[in-house]
């Protein structure tokens, strides 16, 4: 095992009936890394993330996280080990307040590794960091779109992850709001959390990522720094055609 590798995806495949959504995809994310995952619509980004977070089981291959083989673990156990995700379409717990939303992962996931922590104080601190403090006691059902995106990130943070997967947290937001979410993700990364960013907004991915992997039609077609990716002919072909 190479030192410093947090997430190690080896040859993962996923089929839905006759459709092969992922074909032997491999990638590695290092501790504390800012990692970009891009690709055209339907290229398998979210499927891959579902396989990593445990929402879907993979048909082939192996996934290791922090030295554990997590390929067959149910999603909640992966979260307890330190993988947290936000959802592309926000899925808040609508009957609860914003603070209560954060208490669920704090109590169920973070508590397994950090027993004795003050759940509420910790949740409030995350809300302060994310900028949702004023809404702590508001019902989650009444939030605006950007507040919902922030809640997704805050709730994932409350699980005290070592790896945060941000699945299109910026889609549909205004330019100023994109900058706001980007600043939040950078601040989270500074606390030592590795982040996988899935995004269509190239400006954000290129600014954020240290390393990028490109998927097309369920297969990996490129890997490199932002500049390499921008100048890669295969990537250009995948996005624009010939």
């Amino acid at each position: 095992m190479t030192a410093g590798i947090l997430l190690d995806v080896r040859g993962v495949s996923k089929r839905f009936g006759g459709f092969e959504a992922l074909t032997r995809v491999s990638l590695q994310v290092r501790e504390g890394e800012r990692f970009g995952l891009i690709g055209p619509n339907g290229s398998g980004k979210t499927t891959l993330i579902n396989c990593v977070s445990g929402a879907l089981g993979s048909d082939e291959g192996e996934i290791r996280f922090a030295g554990h083989d997590i390929t067959r673990l149910p999603a909640h156990q992966r979260t307890r080990l330190g993988i947290a995700r936000s959802f592309q379409i926000p899925k808040p717990f609508v009957s609860m307040t914003v603070l209560e939303n954060l208490c669920i992962p704090a109590e169920y996931a973070a508590h397994a590794r950090f027993p004795g922590a003050d759940v509420v104080a910790e949740a409030m601190e995350i809300l302060r960091l994310i900028g949702l403090e004023a809404k702590a006691h508001a019902p989650a059902a009444g939030l605006t779109q950007i507040e919902l995106r922030k809640l997704e990130l805050a709730r994932a943070m409350a699980a005290r992850p070592r790896l945060l997967i941000s699945d299109e947290s910026m889609a549909g937001l205004s330019s100023a709001e994109v900058d706001e979410i980007l600043a939040i993700l950078l601040a989270l990364n500074e606390r030592g959390i590795a982040i996988i960013m899935i995004e269509h907004i190239m400006r954000a991915v290129m600014r954020f990522s240290q390393r990028i992997v490109v998927l097309d039609a369920g297969a990996r077609i490129a890997e490199g720094g932002p500049d390499e990716i921008l100048n890669n002919p295969a990537v250009e072909k995948a996005y624009l055609g010939e």
Partner: protein, 314 residues
């Protein structure tokens, strides 16, 4: 502190109930109160899976009848003492809940509900074809000639059912305010997000199904002594399934107070209608009230009260 006050109320209720049996009023009142308490247990039990977790069970009658038949058969075969009946009926109900959960809780929404409906039909068919349990002819149960302390058996059953109702409410209240209740609420709100936030969704759903089934089973345990003659058609009656679902929805399904309110209000209305008009009217009342609530107050009476209060503050 609030918990202690509620405990005091519960103890006071039991003492009051025992004192009432000293009055030796018209036996009908004990009969009627028994039915209402029984519905408090059933509605509370349904609500643990239906209201807290969001899995609608249409098979409550099956759980209830299974508890009743378990008791009837144990009485017939071994003359089992009363506390053992309670234990056995709740165990069988809990196991049924657990196995139903294991088989079907991976199904979501309406598919789970259809499976529970099918379960009740299967159980009824089994009982109808089981000679020892009386088949479709039914089964007689003799009440013990004497019962310690109480003047007669119905008064004893009345107090027992009150204690069961209080026990069910205490269980529901504990779940609601514990880590378990918070996890169940997360499942109800969004199961996928709950699982990804570390909630062991399958395990919690199994716990909810087991507790719910055990409480429904125990509600049926005193039934053979209550009616003294049981047959499948009335024991698996649609009334039980509909009432145990309608009462929490009318009262308010997200808190333990809801099923209590719904069961007391609707149960009392049904008893009054049975005496004054006709027993056939019962389900009609439930139907009309339920439709009215679903349209006008989807969060039940509790929801109405909260909205009122919220309105005044704003």
């Amino acid at each position: 502190m609030r918990g202690r006050a509620l405990l005091a109320v519960a103890v006071a209720l039991v003492v009051l109930a025992v004192a009432l049996t000293r009055l030796s009023a018209n036996q009908y009142y004990y009969f009627a109160a028994y039915v209402i308490f029984q519905y408090v247990v059933l509605a509370t039990a349904w609500n643990i899976l239906g209201g807290y977790t969001g899995y609608v069970n249409f098979g409550s009658a099956g759980f209830f009848a299974l508890g009743a038949y378990t008791a009837a058969i144990l009485i017939k075969a071994f003359q089992v003492p009363f506390p053992v009946l309670l234990l056995a009926a709740s165990t069988v109900g809990g196991l049924l809940g657990l196995s139903l959960g294991y088989l079907t809780l991976r199904l979501r929404g309406v598919f789970f509900s259809i499976a529970t409906l099918a379960l009740a039909v299967v159980l009824q068919t089994l009982i109808v074809n089981w000679e020892y349990a009386g088949g479709s002819r039914g089964i007689y149960t003799m009440r013990p000639a004497e019962v310690l302390f109480f003047g007669n058996y119905v008064e004893f059953l009345f107090v027992v059912m009150l204690i069961l109702a209080l026990g069910a409410l205490a269980t529901a209240r504990w779940i609601e305010h514990s880590w378990l209740g918070r996890g169940l609420a997360a499942i109800r709100d969004n199961e996928e997000a709950a699982e990804c936030m570390g909630v062991p969704t399958l395990r919690l759903k199994l716990v909810a199904a087991t507790v719910s089934g055990a409480l429904m089973g125990i509600a049926g345990a005193p039934f053979p002594y209550y009616v003294t003659y049981m047959e499948p058609a009335s024991t698996f009656n649609l009334d039980y399934a509909v009432n145990s679902l309608a009462m929490p929805m009318i009262g308010g399904a997200t808190t333990w107070v809801g099923p209590l309110l719904g069961a007391v209000l609707l149960g009392t209305a049904q008893q009054i209608a049975t005496v004054t008009i006709s027993s056939a009217l019962n389900l009609l009342i439930v139907g009309v009230v339920l439709v009215a609530f679903v349209i006008l107050a989807p969060d039940g009476i509790i929801g109405l009260v909260r909205r009122r209060r919220g309105g005044r503050h704003a």
